[in-house]
Amino acid sequence: MINHDDYVKINIGPSHPAMHGTLRVVAYTDGETVVSADPEIGYLHRGVEKLGEHLSYHQFIPITDRLNYCSAICNNVSYEMAVEKLLGVSAPEKAQLVRIIMMELARIADHQVCVGILGVDLGAFTPFFYLIIQREEIYEIFEHYNGARLTNTFGRIGGVEADLPKDFEQRWKKLKEGIARANEETDKLLTHNRIWMDRTIGVTTFSAEDALAWGFTGPCLRACGVKRDLRKDEPYSVYDRFDFEVPVGKYGDVFDRYMVRMREMEESVKIIDQAFKLYKDMPADAPLMAKVPKTIKPPAGEVYSAIESPNGELGFFIKSDGSDKPYRIKIRPPCYMVYQAFPEMVKGEMIADLIACLSSLNVIAGELDR
C-alpha cells in the first residue's frame, strides 16, 4: 500500500483528450512516473443489460449497437447468434456470408480507429487521417446497406434483412486498394520510425501467463503471444471455410498490439475476398432469413454464445423463462477484462506510457460500462 500523501494526484478524465469516451483514471504520480493508477468506470453506464429484460428479443438489437460503437455490426451479430442458438435455428448460408463480410468490414474499421488514435495519442497525427478516410469508405458501404453508419442495427434474428448492395463488388474493389494504401502509409510513417519504436517497444509488456490469468482475449491476448482466435479455435458461422492467419506478437507491449491490429486488417481483407467469392456462387434467390416466428418466445433455458469481436471475445449470456422477453441478459465485453489489468500494466511507467497503453488496449467505454 502506498502512502498517497507523498504523491501528486492527477485526475485523468472523464473529460480528457486521451480518454476516449468517458474513462477516468486517478493516477498518483511521482514526477512523471505513475505510482498507481486506478481506473474508475461507470461514466457511460446506461443499464444495457437491465434494459434487455424489458425489451423483446428483436427490440434489443439496436441497444447492442451502443456497446462497442466502433464495430456495432459485430455486437449485433453476436447477440443475434446467441438468440438463434437459444431458438435452435441457424441463419441460412447466404445470410452467414453477408454477416461475415459486414463483420470483417467492421473489424477493419475498428482497428483503423484504434491504430489511428494510438498514433494521435503518441503525437503522430497524420496516420489517423489516412486511416479515417478509408473508414469513411467502409461506412459508405454500411450506409448503402441499411442507411446507418455508426449504429447499424444490422441483421435480424435468423438472418439478415437485406442482400448486399448491388454495387458492393465495385466499392469493395476500390476500398481494398484504399485500405492497402492507408495501411502502407501508416506502416511507413510509424512502424520503423525510431521515435515510434522507442515509444512503443517494451512499453507496458505483459506476459502470456498474466494475460490468460486476467482473462485477456482478442488482439491484446494475441499480442502477448497466445494464438487464440475464436474464428479459428471455436469456429462459428462459416469461418471454418476460410483460409486466414492469426497474427500473434511476442511481448505484449504497445508495439505488438499495434502490429497485431495492423496485420489483422490484412487478414480481414483476405476473409472478405473469400467470403465474397462464395457469396457470388450462391443463387440470387437463396434465402436470407431462417424460419423464425414473428414474436420470439424461446423455450425456457439459458445459452452463452461468443464471437471474436475486434476487441476480443464478445459473449452474450441469455436466460429465457419462455416469455417474449429475456429473463436475463449478461454481456461479456472484452474490454472489461483487459481494463482490469490496466493498473498492473502501467505501474512504474511514465504518464505518456499510461496514455499509450490505454490507447493500445482499445478500451471502449460503451462496451466497458454497458
Binding site: 492527477i10 494521435v120 495519442d121 503525437g123 497525427f125 520510425n193 521515435i195 515509444r199 511514465m350 506510457d353
Partner: protein, 346 residues
C-alpha cells in the same frame, strides 16, 4: 537624428514583418497539415482561407478573458508576455538582408549589429522558459505545472547543445556578430562548396536544428503542451487573447529560429556561386538580399510544419536522454574537432 529615424523604421518594419510571418504561419500550418493529411483545411474565410488568421484573431480578442479563481493573477497575466517578448526581442540582432543604399546613405538591413549578438541570442533564448514556467505555475493546475516542469527541464537541457553548436560556429568565423558571420559566408571553399556554415559544420548544423526544435517546443519535442497527455500543458487554463499570445509567441519563435538557422548555416542572404552584389544596383541588391534571406527562412518554417505532421512525440525521459547523452557529448566533440581543425590549418 537621421540615424535614429532609420533605426526606428527598421524596428517597426521588422516588428511588423515578423508579426505578419507569424500570422501567415498559422495559416501555413493549418493548410500544410491539411495538405499532408489529405483534407481541405480552412478554406472558407477569404480565398484559400487566407483570412482565417484574421478570423481567429477576432475570435480570440472578443472571447471572455477568464482568469481562474485560484490562479496567481499577476503571474498569470505576465506569463504570455514573458513568453513572447524574448521571441520578438531576439530578432533585433538577426539580419534580414545585406544592405541597401538610399540617398547615398548605406543602411544595414539589421536592427542592431551588436558585436555580442551571439550572446544576446543565447541569453534571450533562455528567457522564453520563464514565460512557460510562470504561466504553468500561476495557473494552479496540475497539468499546467507538469507542462511547466517539462518545459523547464527540456529548454534548459537543450540550451547546452544549442550553445555548443553555436560556439563551434563562432570558432569557425571568429566573431560574435551575426552580420559578420553572415558576411563571411560568401563565396566558396575547397573549390566547389558554398562557403556556408552547414558545409563547415555539418554536425553542428544537425545539433543546432534538433536543439532548435526542442527550444521551439515543436513536435517531436512538444512535451510541454502534449495534448494527449497533459491536455494543453502550460496553457491549459489560458483562453482568449492570452492563449493567442502564447500561440503567437510560438510562431514568432519559429521565425527567429529559422532566421538563425539561415544566418548561421545557410549563407544568410548569399546565393551559392552567384554574387548578387556584382550585377545588381544598390537598391535592387538590398531588396534581392532580403528576398533571398526570407526564401530560405520560409523553407525552414515549412520544415517545422512538415516535421510536426510527420513524426510522433518523444517521451520525457527520452528527451532528456537524447539531450544529455547524445547531443551534449556530440556538441563537445564537435567543438573539440573544430578547434583542432582550426589549430591545424591556422
Amino acid at each position: 537624428m537621421n540615424d535614429l529615424i532609420i533605426a526606428l523604421i527598421k524596428v517597426v518594419f521588422i516588428w511588423v514583418w515578423v508579426l505578419l510571418i507569424a500570422v501567415v504561419m498559422t495559416w501555413v500550418e493549418r493548410r500544410g497539415a491539411a495538405m499532408i493529411q489529405d483534407r481541405p483545411g480552412p478554406n472558407r474565410a477569404g480565398p484559400f482561407g487566407l483570412l482565417q488568421p484574421l478570423a481567429d484573431g477576432i475570435k480570440l480578442f472578443t472571447k471572455e478573458d477568464i482568469i481562474p479563481a485560484k490562479a496567481k493573477k499577476l503571474l498569470f497575466i505576465l506569463g504570455p508576455i514573458l513568453f513572447s517578448l524574448p521571441a520578438f526581442s531576439a530578432y533585433a540582432v538577426v539580419p534580414f538582408g545585406d544592405k541597401i543604399i538610399l540617398g547615398g546613405k548605406e543602411i544595414i538591413l539589421q536592427v542592431a549589429d551588436v558585436n555580442i549578438g551571439f550572446l544576446y541570442i543565447v541569453a534571450l533564448g533562455s528567457m522564453a522558459v520563464y514565460g512557460i514556467v510562470v504561466g504553468g505555475w500561476a495557473s494552479n493546475n496540475k497539468y499546467s505545472i507538469l507542462g511547466g516542469l517539462r518545459a523547464t527541464a527540456q529548454l534548459i537541457s537543450y540550451e547546452v547543445p544549442w550553445g555548443l553548436a553555436l560556439l563551434a560556429i563562432v570558432l569557425v568565423y571568429g566573431t560574435f556578430s551575426l552580420r559578420e558571420i553572415a558576411l563571411a559566408q560568401q563565396g566558396t571553399f575547397l573549390g566547389i562548396l558554398p562557403n556556408w556554415g552547414v558545409f563547415k559544420q555539418p554536425l553542428g548544423f544537425i545539433l543546432f536544428i534538433v536543439a532548435a526544435y526542442a527550444e521551439a517546443n515543436r513536435v517531436p519535442f512538444d512535451l510541454p503542451e502534449a495534448e494527449s497527455e497533459i491536455v494543453s500543458g502550460y496553457h491549459t487554463e489560458y483562453g482568449s487573447m492570452r492563449l493567442g499570445v502564447y500561440l503567437f509567441g510560438e510562431y514568432v519563435n519559429l521565425c527567429t529560429l529559422s532566421a538563425l538557422i539561415v544566418t548561421f548555416f545557410f549563407g544568410a542572404w548569399h546565393l551559392p556561386y552567384i554574387n548578387m552584389a556584382s550585377f545588381l544596383g544598390p537598391i535592387s541588391y538590398g531588396i534581392a538580399s532580403f528576398l533571398v534571406f526570407f526564401l530560405k527562412v520560409s523553407f525552414f518554417l515549412w520544415l517545422f510544419v512538415w516535421v510536426r505532421w510527420t513524426v510522433p512525440r518523444f517521451r520525457y525521459d527520452q528527451v532528456m536522454g537524447l539531450g544529455w547523452k547524445a547531443l551534449i557529448p556530440l556538441g563537445l566533440l564537435n567543438l573539440f574537432l573544430t578547434a583542432l581543425a582550426i589549430q591545424l590549418t591556422a
